[in-house]
Assembly symmetry: C2
Homo-oligomer: 364 residues x 2
């Protein structure tokens, strides 16, 4: 079976590494000719709206999925008329627009930070009166890794934020003084079967995910079941097949939906070593109509992104239980070049290995 993947970044690369052992073959599509998945599978480079290139990509495929949520929904719909495409393109439309996304989760009965649409300076003033400060002004579309947003702490910051972001469809969101950010990765099969990984705790640095602790420390069954109910309800509403990720703020014991990703997710990378079946394998199983694999956890894991530069290779590999994942990308400031997942059978051993890793960073 040959699977086509829209997007050829590191998520696609890790999807192929999980799919080859299932006997699958892959073809990737990406606007960048240097995409990370390009040198280990068939590869078509083109613009997402170049239907000739998209047709070349689709020829002879058995199924199509994506590893990038900003694939134009029209391209996904065009392909879905010809081939099985999962997750449903409708999920892209929800995930690509913060206003539609938050409205979607509210309608399903889940909590989100307070929000209001902002299409004009008048809207912004009205929204600020309703929501108050601090708040976050964000573009509705195309934001990622902290880009396209401005935190408003004081009235004096409003004009600058408007100059920076105004003119595009925006959303104002209440700034939630959350205790921590949690996320859940879950898979839904074509037959409606459902399996979720435990909630994990995420730490960001400069808007980019820095570290994921799996499972989230102090995770209660109540939090886990709330998160599972949320992702399951979203999947059912959309008629979804594949892996979905939802990021939450934990605040005063409640989970507020921050955003969803209709795909495998950076906060699920720990599952490669830390769970019985990885998010990548479960995504492929889900979109191809195969039984989902066990999401049971194996020990304790911490995932750390390697951003901008990679530490000295051989020093890192000297730490037991450290699993290195480089994406084959050239270094550039702020770029995710890889990640490491450090695993251990007990939290104390994990803490020691993490300490050794941090020390190796300072030495190198």
């Amino acid at each position: 079976m040959k699977v086509g993947v829209l997007g050829g970044g590191q998520l696609g690369r890790m999807m192929a590494l999980a799919g080859y052992p299932l006997g699958l073959r892959f073809r990737f599509f990406d606007p960048s000719p240097d995409a990370a998945a390009g040198h280990m599978a068939e590869f078509v480079s083109g613009s997402y709206d170049d239907l000739d290139a998209v047709e070349r990509f689709a020829a002879g495929l058995d199924a199509i999925t994506y590893e990038f949520e900003n694939v134009p929904a029209e391209t996904a719909r065009y392909l879905a008329e010809r081939l099985p495409v999962h997750p449903t393109p409708a999920a892209l439309e929800v995930a690509q627009d913060r206003l539609i996304e938050k409205t979607f989760f509210r309608k399903l009965g889940f909590q989100t930070p307070a929000f209001a649409p902002v299409d004009s300076r008048n809207d912004l003033d009205a929204a600020l009166r309703e929501i108050g400060l601090p708040a976050v002004l964000k573009t509705r579309r195309d934001g990622y890794d902290g880009k396209g947003q401005a935190v408003l702490q004081h009235v004096a910051e409003i004009d600058t934020a408007w100059e920076q972001l105004g003119g595009r469809p925006l959303i104002l969101e209440a700034f939630v003084p959350f205790e921590r950010e949690l996320s859940i990765v879950a898979a839904r099969g074509l037959d409606g079967s459902f399996r979720a990984y435990p909630l994990v705790e995420n730490e960001h640095r400069a808007g980019i995910l820095g570290r994921t602790i799996a499972p989230a420390p102090g995770l209660t069954p109540e939090l886990q079941s709330t998160a599972e109910a949320c992702v399951s309800a979203a999947m059912m509403e959309l008629g979804y097949a594949g892996v979905m990720t939802i990021e939450f703020f934990e605040h005063q014991g409640r989970l507020l939906v921050n955003e969803m990703a209709p795909r495998v997710h950076n906060s699920g990378h720990w599952t490669i070593e830390g769970a019985e079946t990885s998010q990548f394998e479960n995504h492929l199983r889900a979109v191809l109509g195969l039984p989902l694999g066990s999401t049971a956890v194996r020990g304790y894991s911490t995932m750390l992104n390697l951003i901008g530069a990679t530490p000295e290779w051989s020093t890192m590999l000297g730490i037991d239980g450290l699993h290195l994942h480089l994406y084959g990308k050239d270094p550039r400031p702020g770029r995710k070049l890889g990640h490491v997942t450090i695993c251990a059978t007990d939290p104390t051993a994990l803490e020691e290995r993490l300490k050794a890793f941090v020390e190796s960073l300072h030495r190198s």
Copy 2:
């Protein structure tokens, strides 16, 4: 770094899957244009003695290794004059000839079944007088998976065996009524560092490995340290870097060396899920001069080869803890098409999952 691999079968395929996360790239060389590693990396097809093809393969590589022990040692030596080639070609020469191999281990002080060289019918009669029946007559070179050998139980079988195998350099070995076959997989780094996986128990069917149980049930520290001493001594004697496998017969509490493989091995496939670092990753770390990864075991594993045909895909994937590995090969009787490794945190759970797998085989 780009690594060249002589041989492009499933061992090479799994090596590339382990190496991509380290940021490595691969180029394979194999006489068969359909080799299993061919569609996921650069690939050169040619005969091992076609030096033009071998030169094309080697151009621009940083290091070379092999996944097949019958690569002509001359080809490996030719390449070793130009590039780092590990394991040392000397290991191929030992592994390719059963007489040299058994003599090598005897000289190191380890036990083997009694053996004698057989180059003529007179030699065979002399060897039979010395060793007695039952015995096994084998070709010295090119035997694998039970091919090129004949078991002699009765005097009446001697003529037939000679007709079948005579004319090539042979070896007669005492037939050891062993309790079980065990094997050890270990890695030695360029710096002499050494790490071994636990001994595993192997069951063969019709000369082909059928099942590996890891760790071997009832494994004692004495057996493990004897096996580690043996593989470590062999590696030191050869100045070896990479993974080596030694198969033993266990007989009356002793380990007798049966054979060595200067490469990753079918009986080490369980390490992909069942150990902290897989044999494939440790082989790459070893030949590239990187620190070796932990060989600590994660739970209990049983590996079963999928030979000749593959069971119904989706039925297998319905079993928790079952990890499927298909090699992308066309079905053919007796051909290894893939394997499954079933893992669990305790032996009882493993037994239940194995039972479920065997039942799914009967249903499909």
